[in-house]
Amino acid sequence: MKPAPFRYADPGSLGEALDVLAAEGDGAKVLAGGQSLIPLLSMRLAAPTTLVDLNRVPGLDAVEVTGDGVRVGALVRHAELLGNPAARTVQPLLARATAYVAHPAIRNRGTTVGSIAHADPSGEMTAVLALTGGSVTVATPAGRSTIGWRELFVGPLETSVHGAAVVVDAFFPALPARSGTAFVEVSRRRGDYAVCGAGVVVTLDADGLVETVRAAYLSVGPVPEVHDLTEAVSGQPAASADWAAAADLARTLVDPDGDLHASADYRRLLVGVLTERALASAAAEAAA
């Protein structure tokens, strides 16, 4: 289990990185944290001709927190985001979800943006990007553009970002007012990819009645899914809303596959259970 040969560049600027990517063509691949990529290299399941390492590119390691949301640079490690109190305040889902990402040694090296660019439908950060209605900034030799999550995620381990392009940051909009969140998972072992996971946002109106309910799921489809569950509980008091009805609705909206660790039916069961639990918790937080 050793990587096949490749060429390696660690450019000192984003412009140089894009130049190398452009020059090296389709066989080139961007390396940031490497916690998903390097195992694929070692198993020879991926064999890029060139690795373009971003780690020396300046300006990609910042977490910018404003009232609008949290912008996470391409070199920000999971551990750093997890420990960022301002980010946690503006968008609590970030820390809640990051705590489920693998184990500390992986979080020390792996990056939030890298796991989004990896586009694993079992990944926590892909789900959070989707749930918060987030986007990424993509730099190309032609300039920068913003890609919303729906356009970004094309399929399992596949994004719409191709060619000489670097995802330089991800933007997670702030939690709306009178909102609460929760993030829950069932995994076979602690730290494993979730058999099923759910992140939810519950927003109340000024009277404390349920206004909107949104949920995102992990490991239930080829790309992260966000479902609006509002209709099941709209206008109900936060403390006594019929979360089971929302869970039932969620079950009808997902179409999971089975694999080694869970049947499709079991995943559907978990979608309901996790939805109900997460919503109750998020609603309590929203009401507090």
Binding site: Y8, A17, I38, P39, D53, P104, A105, R109, G191
Partner: protein, 188 residues
Amino acid sequence: MTPIDTERSITVTVNGVPRGARVPVRRLLSDALRHDLGLTGTHVGCEHGVCGACTVLVDGTPVRSCLVLAVQVDGAAVTTVEGLARADDDGGQVLHPVQEAFRECHALQCGFCTPGFLVTIAAGLEARNLSTEITEEEVDELVGGNLCRCTGYANIKKAVRHAADTMRRNGAELPLGNSAPLHEQGPR
């Protein structure tokens, strides 16, 4: 123009000693430590980042050395299990409290996973506030990311509590000499 290489010369401060090596760019840090630098204390158990046996500290932070390329640590400081103990005044060795605790608590059997546990736990204990008693949640977090096939983990957890107690009693002396809490240093 950015160089695109298949081989590189790197310099890494390993356990406080600057070391140089010429490596193919695909060389994993785990292999570079073991085979280019002869530091075979770091073990390779899975080469896909799950078992944690190969964990080392890069600039004070635990990372899987099988998930980092050797060229990526050029200029960095790496601590391996060989660097946990420090020399005493008589040319002998003073074990890190975590190493002592592993012996005391029978926290190892075959010893293959042990180096990964030791560096992870040592870094974690040095990063925590020593004035408080360690909680079970902290213990679980410190040992939770490494696989051991021999011990069933009971004695590893015991050793973490034991080492934390020792370090608390001995006050602020941090054997690895990390002046700042590790989590604030961040990776390179």
